[in-house]
Symmetry: C3
Subunit: 156 residues, 3 copies
């Protein structure tokens, strides 16, 4: 059985992940990953058929840092704020990792204050303990919503 | 006070319920219920006025199995994938049961990858322990969204 | 480390807050606050810039009661039912308080049963223990969705 303190710590990391994105603290967001991490966004179709065609693939932390830096510089994408609502998660031990699964809905609000549903899907994560703190070893985002992925800029 | 392991197990069952629906594993979904179960979908109006007019009523597990089988065969309903986002739940002891209450939002994504809100509402569930595992004795879905219920096919 | 029973009690209060609103039990909802409470609704813009311009500000429980009473009497606002879906929360000790942070999505369903997204945002709360029960000392709602705030009537 999973220890209550591990469950709590995993839930806190999941919460922190979305809170930092929603507050546009992207640099701090990268610090939730280990150096040798995997971040990827797949479509549900890809995942079901085991197709190796991620929409986004970063297989180390420097790629995440680069991505954030180019978002800060380019900044030509549609300006918005994000709001993640993450459903009640499943947290379990999986060998040396903690695995976390959760549904999400991601809303974007434009500069006129109009909110639209941007994407729904789920997270499949592997967490690892480093110096007493939990960090993401793997973050896999599986998106149901394919129609708007051309607008994909900030992380999900 | 509810034991932490019971709280965790109830949360896991709630998560599993929606994960199986979202992955279209309907046959596995029926296995989350005891044989002598109650599954029903009510409108909020029905529930407030105590009207005995459920939109869907299955009062044993074979009815759930039949429902899944006819969905598999008929398959003439609008093709979509589901995504449930379940709000933070309330879990309590209630005699021999665990009661679980939670809000949900259910999104459907069509074959073009366009996601729409299908229904919001809440769950009012009774869970029972059988051979050490928690299962649904009763699952009551109270739906706010009435306008689209003619499209109701897969379970909520 | 936060005690499991405090985490559970804070989660229960958060759940009860939205359940009472969604069931239109506004009088019971006021009882979740201490007399000397703060309830306010801010825009995300206000909060980021630390502007002291709340959309709604009630700095004691009588103001909440008055607000509910005038909603009951005036009742000329658009009739709807609410449904909150609250994301997985962050709960922590903060001196004498428990702090709770959570994202929310608020849907409204009109009398024809049509559901629309009304607002997304987050809660930043401070809870205090009074006679063994947790109550809200402060409830701050930070809304992303500004475009529809002229329709703001029932609490978020």
């Amino acid at each position: 059985m999973l220890r209550p303190e591990d469950r709590a710590a995993a839930g806190d990391l999941l919460w922190r992940y979305t809170a930092l994105l929603d507050e546009d603290r992207l640099e701090d967001w990268t610090e939730l990953f280990v150096e040798d991490c995997l971040y990827r966004i797949l479509t549900k179709e890809n995942e079901v058929q085991s197709l190796p065609l991620p929409l986004v693939l970063c297989d180390n932390k420097n790629m995440l840092r680069d991505r954030v830096q180019s978002l800060r510089q380019a900044n030509i994408y549609n300006i918005h704020t994000d709001r993640h609502v993450v459903g009640f998660p499943h947290i379990a031990e999986e060998g040396e990792f903690l695995s976390v699964s959760a549904s999400y809905a991601l809303y974007q609000t434009d500069q006129e204050g109009v909110t639209r549903l941007f994407s729904v899907g789920c997270y499949r994560d592997r967490l690892v303990r480093v110096d007493g703190a939990l960090l993401f070893k793997e973050k896999t985002v599986i998106v149901d919503t394919a129609g708007i992925l051309t607008l994909l800029a900030t992380p999900i």
